[in-house]
């Protein structure tokens, strides 16, 4: 099948701005299937914007993004997305099961209850993230770490081929973070994973490539992410742009 041989994500000549405020410039990246990529960069650098462009939640001012060779809208069924959970109402009256089942929307009937198969799939993904015994608990009553895992379960319930995660480790302590990365590493055996993260330390141990976003975007294999590059990412904007301009590192910039 032609679609399966396409890269998981292909972004070409993509620009994005809010009004006259340029957020992303000239982005070109190719993420092969089975990759585990972390998107890093300073706050306001455009990490979440890049993720939302891949999802089709934002439209590029110029250029294109393709998921498995299709537009983001066409590929939506193959994408499991985990948003930053801080946007959601923590007191919402729903159980863990209710939230995870939302991942099954758009798979069958357009109205009516979820099918037995939907419930089996969701029970299975809750098991994978270790929340099976919490399925009847209230969303308001579970911890921050459990919520993060619940949102991963919801994304997995979509039966995706790629996971897009926006800061899955935000608000987690070190132990929970370790557990989460272990889970992601297991999932990477069968899924492509792209996640936004601030945390370079952990990232370099488990991810295969790093995308650096600060208006300009560069992709590196993790092995090449050195202290110098980290400095450049979080250093002054001028230096970052010069670095991009000179193309002085081995970027997978296609």
């Amino acid at each position: 099948m032609n679609v399966t041989s396409s890269p998981a994500i292909f972004v070409e000549d993509l620009w994005f701005s809010y009004g006259s405020n340029s957020i992303l410039e000239d982005v070109n990246i190719t993420i092969p299937q089975g990759d585990f990529v972390s998107i890093v960069g300073p706050n306001g650098g455009g990490k979440t914007t890049l993720l939302k462009l891949m999802l089709g939640l934002l439209k590029p001012s110029r250029g294109l993004a393709r998921i498995f060779g299709e537009t983001p809208e066409q590929a939506r069924r193959r994408i499991g997305y985990m948003p930053q959970h801080s946007q959601l109402d923590p007191d919402f009256p729903a159980t863990v099961m209710d939230v995870a089942l939302m991942g099954r929307l758009g798979h069958g009937r357009i109205f009516g209850p979820y099918s037995k198969r939907d419930k089996e799939i969701v029970a299975n993904v809750l098991e994978q993230v270790g929340l099976r015994n919490f399925r009847k608990k209230s969303f308001a009553a579970i911890s921050g770490g459990q919520r993060q895992r619940l949102f991963i379960a919801r994304a997995l319930a979509c039966e995706p081929d790629i996971l897009l995660l926006d800061e899955p480790t935000a608000n987690l302590d070190v132990v929970m973070e370790g557990d989460l990365y272990e889970l992601l590493q297991t999932l990477n055996n069968r899924l492509t994973i792209v996640m936004v993260s601030h945390d370079l330390g952990f990232v370099s141990r488990i991810v295969k490539s790093v995308i650096c976003v600060k208006r300009k975007v560069l992709m590196h294999p993790t092995s090449e992410v050195t202290g110098a590059i980290i400095n450049e990412i979080y250093g002054s904007p001028m230096r970052m742009i010069r670095h991009n301009g000179e193309r002085d590192c081995n970027c997978q910039n296609s």
Binding site: L55, L57, R76, R77, I79, Y81, P83, Q87, L88, D89, D91, F92, P93, A94, T95, D98, V99, L101, M102, G103, L105, G106, I110, F111, G112, P113, Y114, S138, A140, A141, R154, C158
Partner: protein
């Protein structure tokens, strides 16, 4: 209270009032729950007050231009649905100015209603009636109308429960799953508008606002799931309307206002209990 129970067996108007309270509770419990969890009670209030403009315009056209087919209910329906669509689109497209748009519609709607009513010849005792309603003057036709509204809301609420839940909880994710979130959101606002209109012609605008928020506010303190909240708030709503009627009947207090005071007191009481539990 005993006078109420005694007369209940004899007077149809009292039986109708009781039934109205219970039918209204079903609509308020379900729609109110969606409105509260989606945090749009302010939108429901805005729609409710815009309704006055439509009622006034319909009354004016009826009396001055002798459009006899037109009754205040028709004007209210048009005003509410137009307000729902305008507010809905503003809140979906231009988030930062949502409250301004709602306040503007709210104020303009009420002002227009008052001007129309002041220019309408005849005795216009109705204005207070539209604001506070009179549950003791409900006709059998009104009851059928409410029953119809309940059927519509229960059927839509059951059929699209999962979709409404997803749209209220996480609109962005629901959209990514291929749900037409704007359609569902406007549908929900439309149902809220319909509830507000039909109930405001029966029990008054202020009572609708109270019934769409107070019982649900109490249920929200203790419920874990959306459907649980709907059931509990429907029951609470029925208790408040019934007890409001019973308490106000003997001393001849306004029934709507009594119901609101009772529901408000219960809400404050429930908040205190919850606060005390969380501190202990």
């Amino acid at each position: 209270m005993s006078e109420f129970l005694n007369d209940l067996g004899h007077y149809v108007f009292l039986q109708n009032a009781l039934l109205t309270g219970i039918l209204a509770s079903v609509a308020c419990g379900i729609i109110g729950t969606y409105v509260v969890v989606r945090r749009i009670s302010y939108i429901a209030d805005g729609i409710a007050h815009t309704v006055l403009g439509g009622m006034g315009a319909a009354l004016y056209l009826n009396r001055v231009y002798h459009w006899h087919g037109l009754i205040p209910l028709h004007g209210a329906l048009v005003a509410a649905l137009v307000a729902a669509v305008i507010i809905g689109l503003v809140s979906l497209r231009a988030k930062q100015r949502e409250d301004t748009a709602i306040s503007a519609l709210w104020a303009i709607g009420m002002a227009a209603g008052i001007i129309f009513i002041s220019r309408t010849p005849g005795y216009n005792e109705d204005l207070m009636g539209y604001l506070f309603g009179n549950i003791l003057m409900v006709s059998t036709g009104d009851l059928w109308m409410l029953a119809g509204l309940d059927v519509l809301i229960v059927v839509a609420g059951l059929m699209f429960y999962n979709q409404f839940l997803a749209v209220c909880f996480d609109q962005e994710f629901a959209g990514l799953r291929g749900l037409r979130v704007e359609v569902f959101y406007l549908f929900l606002l439309g149902l809220a508008a319909l509830t507000v209109v039909l109930l405001s012609t029966v029990v008054g605008i202020v009572m609708v606002v109270a019934m769409l928020t107070l019982p649900i506010g109490i249920a929200a303190l203790f419920c874990r799931s959306l459907w649980g909240m709907m059931v509990i708030s429907t029951i609470l709503c029925a208790i408040f309307t019934t007890s409001g009627l019973a308490v106000s009947y003997g001393p001849d207090y306004p029934a709507g206002a009594t119901t609101i005071i009772l529901a408000g007191a219960a809400y404050l009481g429930a908040l205190s209990v919850k606060w005390a539990i969380s501190r202990s």
